[in-house]
């Protein structure tokens, strides 16, 4: 196992820039998930780490080694493909040992390594089958076995669960987490599935348009998204955005929702960081679960448009003075459609963004943390 450091990586295909100034430090034993919409550059970045693509600029260090110019076989990494890429003409055993064979590992040692991995992944009865005779989940295990057997410095996963059905995906997710806990490998994992990103990772890297948007632990990503993109991308149903104007005076700020019948949300003394924005517009980001049917909070009068019971929750599509809102409320709460209800907005949980830059306006106590992150990115 080793740490990975990605330093100012750029990647261009002709005039198209696929990756822009990527900097990332991954600690030994850390599980990092790269997440983003398709075309965001996450798979390109993974290919560059694997050595399947060259960089246009920048350097990669694996532990103390500079691997920027090494070919994939000399990097000592393993990659689990979305398609699994099992060699169809080889048995499971041959699939697993192919990498060892290429590295001239003695036969008895190969056999021992296969036995160990097969036991770990519970694929012992499958060793003499061909990939075509395996189910999706079994193929997935074999692909992991092929990666594990070589004891690489770094594991790369390229959307490894996306070809499985929903139930199996959840099972394998849990199993991967257990495996990581037990073996402690350094892992870079690419996915477009935010649930995988949230559940598996020590840290999430959100990417868009070839750039890193935010690097943080799952909680921070969810609760304190660094910009409008991260706020909108992470979370399902998506965060509600309201453009409001800050009025009042320092210490007694209000957010006013414009429209034919403006709604005023008194912010009180808790959002001092918005003082510089007095008289200007900001974007208020509210998670659907922070609109509650009762309890403390700023009261919001809404009309219920659609009620969608999902099982564990009830999802409401609402209209508030001409603005669309989505709320996730407890399952037993079932207002009638077209009825008027009052929800309690947990304003303390809301994120606020500068609409011009799209960046989060940090609250006083979290300012320090964001500053360090910014400093790290500059370095």
């Amino acid at each position: 196992m080793a740490s990975l450091s990605i330093e100012t990586i750029w990647k261009a295909y002709g005039d198209v820039i696929a990756l822009r100034d990527i900097n990332l430090e991954i600690a030994d034993g850390e599980f990092v998930v790269l997440v983003g919409p398709s075309g965001c550059g996450k798979s390109t970045l993974l290919s560059i780490i694997a050595g399947l693509e060259d960089t246009s600029h920048g350097a990669l260090h694996l532990g103390a080694r500079d691997v920027t110019d090494l070919s994939p076989k000399d990097r000592n990494i393993a990659l689990v493909f979305q398609s699994y890429a099992l060699y169809p003409t080889m048995t499971v055993r041959q699939n697993i040992t192919f990498g060892l064979e290429n590295r001239r590992v003695p036969r008895d040692e190969q056999a021992r390594a296969v036995a160990e991995v097969a036991k770990l992944l519970q694929i012992e009865p499958l060793l003499d089958r061909k990939p075509a005779q395996l189910s999706g989940g079994q193929r997935q295990r074999v692909a992991m076995g092929r990666a594990l057997v070589r004891d690489p410095d770094l594991f790369l996963f390229d959307e490894p669960l996306s070809n499985l059905d929903a139930k199996l995906r959840v099972e394998m997710r849990t199993e991967m987490k257990k495996l990581h806990k037990r073996l402690g490998q350094t892992i870079v994992y690419v996915t477009h599935d935010q649930v995988e990103a949230m559940t598996l990772s020590d840290r999430i890297v959100v990417m868009n348009g070839g750039e890193i948007q935010q690097v943080a632990d799952p909680d921070t990503i969810y609760r304190k998204p660094a910009n409008l993109f991260v706020a909108g991308f992470i979370g399902s149903p998506a965060m509600n955005f309201l453009d409001v104007e800050i009025t009042g005076r320092p210490g007694e700020l209000s957010a006013v929702l414009p429209g034919p019948s403006p709604v005023t949300l008194p912010l009180g003394a808790t959002r001092d960081e918005l003082t510089p924005y007095l008289g200007r517009r900001v974007t208020l980001g509210i998670r659907p679960e922070h609109l509650r049917p009762g309890g403390d909070g700023l009261p919001l009068d809404c009309t219920v448009e659609v009620v969608e019971p999902t099982g564990p929750d009830t999802m409401l599509v609402l209209d508030m003075a001409g603005h669309a809102l989505v709320a996730v409320t407890p399952a037993e709460y079932r207002p009638a459609e077209d009825s008027r209800i009052t929800l309690a907005l947990q304003i303390d949980e809301a994120s606020v963004f500068d609409p011009e830059t799209g960046r989060r306006i940090a609250r006083a106590e979290e300012g320090a943390a964001v500053e360090t992150l910014a400093a790290r990115r500059r370095a």
Binding site: K73, F81, A85, P88, R150
Partner: protein, 300 residues
């Protein structure tokens, strides 16, 4: 309701056909059988003639049942018939063709497989330009290179020799095999090659262990194509042959051309069949795979 409660209807019963449908089926089979008869007729006629005695052929016609079966024609055709004033039968020409066709087929197929892999699965500068050039080679009419080939082979001291003709077929055939293999291999998943790269396999090892075991469909296509094409080829065969080396198509044409009378139809038919047997055998062994491979992407 459980399965046991369910009444299972008669699943084998067929829908009865209407009179119109039956008439349609009869017409369909009639047309197909007539066509099949037409296609089979020449082969059947030749096969029958090869076991007829010459008197029968002369008395009746080229088309007819044998009154008496004889294998004499086959013996004559194989070892004693006179072609081009040398009475050796088709035996030497048959073996000359075999000795030329087998190496040319094997070598051009092997090179085509490696080329196809290099062109599709390895980062290769200007692979598309190379591919276009090779495609031009496939479509070039042979007449336009015939004279340069003749001059070049005589410079190399290979004029009218087995090696020379094999060389011509290897070089021209490589264009075909590369085209076929490239079109097949471009559809193999790239991830397999990447996985092999990460597993530490180089170009040749990836080829040998991953790509080649996946290639039997296209190997069958190229082998059948190359074998039948080279075996049946006539223009280069007649241009680059001499009394020392003559492929079977060129020998047959001589037999056909010294048409001195009807007397030779019996062994002539046998000789024609001998020339047709190797490609026919190849087709009947691998024809199904050939068609599948051809339509799966060799011709696109």
């Amino acid at each position: 309701m459980t399965v046991a409660d369910t009444h299972i209807p008669d699943l084998t019963r067929r829908k009865p056909r209407s009179a119109g449908q039956i008439a349609g089926r009869v017409a369909l089979y009639a047309v197909l059988l007539v066509m099949a008869g037409f296609v089979l007729m020449p082969l059947a006629v030749i096969a029958l003639n090869s076991v007829r005695v010459n008197e029968d052929i002369l008395r009746e016609s080229f088309i007819g049942w044998p009154t008496r079966l004889t294998l004499e024609n086959w013996g004559t055709a194989w070892s004693t018939a006179c072609i081009n004033a040398s009475c050796t039968g088709v035996k030497p020409y048959f073996w000359a063709s075999m000795l030329m066709v087998v190496p040319a087929t094997v070598i051009s197929t092997a090179v085509g497989l490696l080329n196809g892999f290099a062109l599709t699965k390895w980062r290769m500068p200007c692979a598309d330009v190379i591919f276009v050039c090779i495609t031009i080679g496939v479509f070039l009419p042979p007449q336009v290179v015939l004279l340069p080939w003749a001059i070049a082979l005589s410079w190399l001291g290979l004029a009218k020799s087995l090696t020379g003709l094999a060389l011509v077929h290897i070089i021209q055939g490589t264009c075909f095999t590369t085209l076929f293999c490239r079109n097949y291999m471009i559809n193999l998943p790239d991830d397999l090659i990447r996985a092999a790269q990460i597993d530490g396999a180089g170009f040749f090892r990836t080829f040998w262990r991953i790509v080649l075991p996946l290639s039997p469909p296209i190997i069958i296509v190229t082998v059948i194509w190359q074998f039948t094409f080279i075996w049946n080829e006539f223009l280069f065969a007649v241009t680059f042959s001499s009394s020392d080396f003559r492929p079977i198509t060129a020998a047959l044409m001589s037999l056909n051309a010294d048409d001195t009378g009807v007397s030779e139809y019996g062994f002539g038919s046998a000789a024609v069949l001998i020339a047709a047997i190797p490609p026919l055998v190849i087709y009947f062994l691998g024809g199904r795979y050939f068609v599948r491979g051809l339509t799966q992407g060799a011709v696109k």
